[in-house]
């Protein structure tokens, strides 16, 4: 058979399978209707709903393989709705709910197309999916370094390892390419000038399809600030270009920042649209690119849903039968906490005046239906990114990216209360860089800033994602470790202290090290103290560490136990 014959045979066979599937569908729809007819509105509906859910699940899982993508989507939406009913403690479906279920089950047959639809491919959208974050704070990240200068290699390796990165060194591009056959690093760091300057890495890498397809971030190091190399770096998608002599702490900060951006929690979108199929379609599209999307079940639940789901963007249909989108947006805006929540209208309306009117009532923008999947994703993504940046500007310290004084104090308070409520201890630590004034006076504020951002990086790296870290003052930091016993916290903090002491800082060839003193208290030892009280106690423990000779961790105990133990 020629390839075309083979293709023809395949198409024919697929057509046969499809017609067989379609032949059986009417029976399946009849079964679904019959089941639905048995619903009484009472608790005993549970068994019927179970069966309905299972059958719909099968339809959802099969339709698309037989050219009935819309059937899959509609069945999935019904399946999920029934699932939600089944999860409720009490089951009572009122008559209107049952009627609408009946309508939708009957509507299933109308989703079956005459001609096969292009199958849904949630796992392979037409656009590039953000690489799944492989990174968690528990696993070690691998950095591959292509560098032929042994001294620089040693220095980079040591510093990166202090930040818990695993470093693998390659002397040449060929060595790198060999290793890339089997796997990829988490980040690639490449010196532009290799082979004593005879080889330009940006040129070599431009020719490599392997590198072009690279998913991991790429950073270049270079002794020469030449424009063509910089442009090639951009074309290769590099996320950084660092000039020698290298400012290693800045490089490490940049690397950590890149990983953190990739580790950011999924973006959350709430979809409000009375067209259940369209809403479900949008949900699938957004979910496929790694966002968390939810469809609002009933307009009445809008505030509850926002409070529990905490969306970062609301996609709102402008015209809905019960309430207009502008009404719901107005209700959302009545709540002070949500005045900044971005609301974007979806509407078939092209009438510019009505859109302007709607904008005057609390909307951020308009997307005009029909909106393509690509456009939907791009619009949602960029708005959430902007909203997050704004949020960060408000709550976070610009140098370190840690929480500001007020926010970390609030977090300490909140966690102290929570600890008492759940009966698990919280540990608070206060950290202060030793003799920081000398660093600033000797090397200048720019170097001081690098020292500060290094400890911030180290804290973020070594603590869990659930821990909360803030810059409390100039060179003073607070870490709140929920559900953490004193003994464990002590180990982690010791580790941070040791690693910080091993870092090298420098300016123009001068090198120096820094140390940090840490005071910590565990709520288990202070059952009656609230957040502010624990902070005062941690400050006292920090003072003890300073007096004890600095570069150490001290744990605080309440005065009366100290009298007993001393």
């Amino acid at each position: 058979m020629t390839p075309t014959d083979a293709e023809q045979a395949l198409t024919t066979r697929l057509e046969e399978l499809r017609s067989r599937y379609l032949e059986r569908l009417p029976d399946e729809f009849a079964e679904l209707s019959a089941l639905q007819g048995r619903l009484s509105g009472q608790e005993q509906d549970r068994d019927v709903l179970d069966e309905l859910q299972q059958r719909l699940h099968k339809l959802a899982g099969s339709g698309g393989s037989f050219g009935c993508a819309s059937l899959s989507i509609a069945a999935r939406s019904l399946e999920q709705r029934i699932g939600a009913w089944l999860e409720a403690k009490e089951l009572s479906l009122d008559a209107p709910t049952r009627r609408s279920l009946m309508d939708e089950i009957e509507a299933l047959s109308r989703t079956v197309p005459e001609r096969p639809e292009r199958p849904e491919r949630p796992e392979r959208p037409a656009f590039r999916v953000a690489p799944e974050a492989r990174t968690t704070s528990d696993s070690t990240l691998e950095v591959w370094l292509v560098e032929d200068n042994a001294e620089l290699c040693r220095q980079l390796q040591q510093q990166l390892e202090s930040f818990n990165y695993e470093v693998r060194v390659f002397r040449s591009i060929d060595e790198l390419k060999g290793a890339m056959e089997s796997r990829e690093p988490d980040l690639l760091l490449v010196d532009v000038m290799l082979e004593q300057g005879r080889e330009n890495a940006t040129e070599r890498l431009m020719d490599s399809p392997q590198v072009q397809a690279l998913e991991c971030p790429l950073i270049f190091l270079s002794a020469n600030d030449d424009f063509p190399s910089r442009v090639r770096a951009v074309q290769l998608g590099a996320e950084g270009y660092f000039l020698k002599p290298l400012d290693v702490p800045r490089l490490v900060n940049r690397i950590t920042q890149i990983f953190e951006e990739r580790r950011a929690p999924p973006q959350r979108v709430l979809i409000v649209d009375d067209d259940a199929d369209l809403a479900e379609h949008m949900r699938l599209v957004l979910t496929a690119v790694g966002m968390e999307a939810r469809v609002l079940a009933s307009p009445n639940d809008v505030m509850d849903t926002i409070a529990t789901f905490r969306p970062e963007l609301v996609l709102m249909d402008l015209y809905m039968p019960e309430y207009a989108g502008t009404d719901l947006a107005g209700v959302i805006r009545q709540h002070e906490a949500y005045t900044h929540l971005p609301i974007v209208y979806l509407s078939a309306e092209t009438d510019i005046e009505r859109q302007i009117d709607a904008m005057g009532r609390g909307a951020d923008d308009f997307l005009t239906k029909p909106i393509s999947d690509l456009q939907l994703v791009a619009a949602a993504r960029s708005r959430i990114v902007r909203a997050r940046q704004l949020e960060d500007r408000i709550n976070k310290d610009s140098l370190t990216g840690l929480l500001k004084h007020a926010s970390i104090k609030e977090a300490a308070n909140r966690e102290a209360l929570r600890a008492r409520r759940i009966g698990r201890p919280v540990t608070l630590a206060m950290l202060d860089i030793d003799h920081f004034k000398v660093v600033n006076d000797t090397y200048g504020h720019a170097v001081g800033d690098v020292v500060i951002s290094s400890i911030a990086t180290l804290l973020r790296q070594r603590l869990r994602q659930s821990d909360i870290i803030g810059r409390y003052g100039g060179e003073e930091f607070v870490a709140v470790l929920p559900e953490c016993e004193a003994e464990h916290a002590q180990g982690v903090l010791e580790d941070i202290r040791r690693n910080f002491a091993s870092l090298d800082f420098g300016r123009k060839g001068e090198r120096f090290g820094c140390t940090i003193s840490i005071g910590m208290v565990c709520s288990a030892a202070y059952p009656d103290q609230d957040g502010p009280g624990l902070l005062v106690a941690a400050d006292e423990a920090l003072y003890k560490a300073k007096r004890g000779g600095r570069n150490q961790v001290q744990q605080g105990f309440p005065a009366h136990t100290r009298e007993v133990t001393d």
Binding site: A6, A9, L10, R13, L14, L17, R20, Y21, R24, Q54, H57, K58, A60, G61, S62, G63, G64, S65, F66, A69, S72, R76, P119, E120, R121, P122, E123, R124, P266, T287, G290, E292
Partner: protein, 127 residues
């Protein structure tokens, strides 16, 4: 690296069995054995000696996860990569299935023309 050749597919629905067989044999050129239940898979898998096993999650009797557990108990199959097939593809569910020991999760409905490539990618990731 050995080539992916033999695939065991465990699926209770005849329609899906047929389209998967076509997708994997004709499009992908694999040798495929279909089992209609978890029990059948546990009985026949060792003799077939698959390179990769695809398991439907929701089946009457033994479901996908319990079939996986039983297959893992057969020494000759303990290392064979397994992927689940399911119509539920929430990220949390994918993580859950992976924590059970699956290499990956394939979303249903699958595209018959793309299934083989997808399976091959999973195999390459696992090998």
């Amino acid at each position: 690296m050995a080539e992916l050749q033999r695939i065991l597919y465990v699926e209770d629905e005849p329609d899906i069995q047929a389209v998967a067989e076509l997708a994997l044999e004709t499009v992908g050129g694999f040798t495929v054995k279909i089992c209609a239940s978890g029990e059948e898979a546990v009985r026949d898998a060792e003799a077939f000696a698959p390179d990769l096993i695809l398991l439907d999650v929701m089946m009457p009797g033994m479901d996908g996860p319990s079939t996986l557990e039983a297959l893992r108990g057969i020494p000759a199959l303990a290392e064979v990569p397994v992927a689940f097939m399911t119509a539920k593809v929430q990220p949390s569910e994918i993580e859950h299935y992976k924590s059970l020991g699956a290499r990956d999760v394939i979303a249903k409905p699958f595209d018959p023309m793309a299934l083989s490539d997808q399976v091959r990618r999973i195999w390459q990731g696992a090998a």
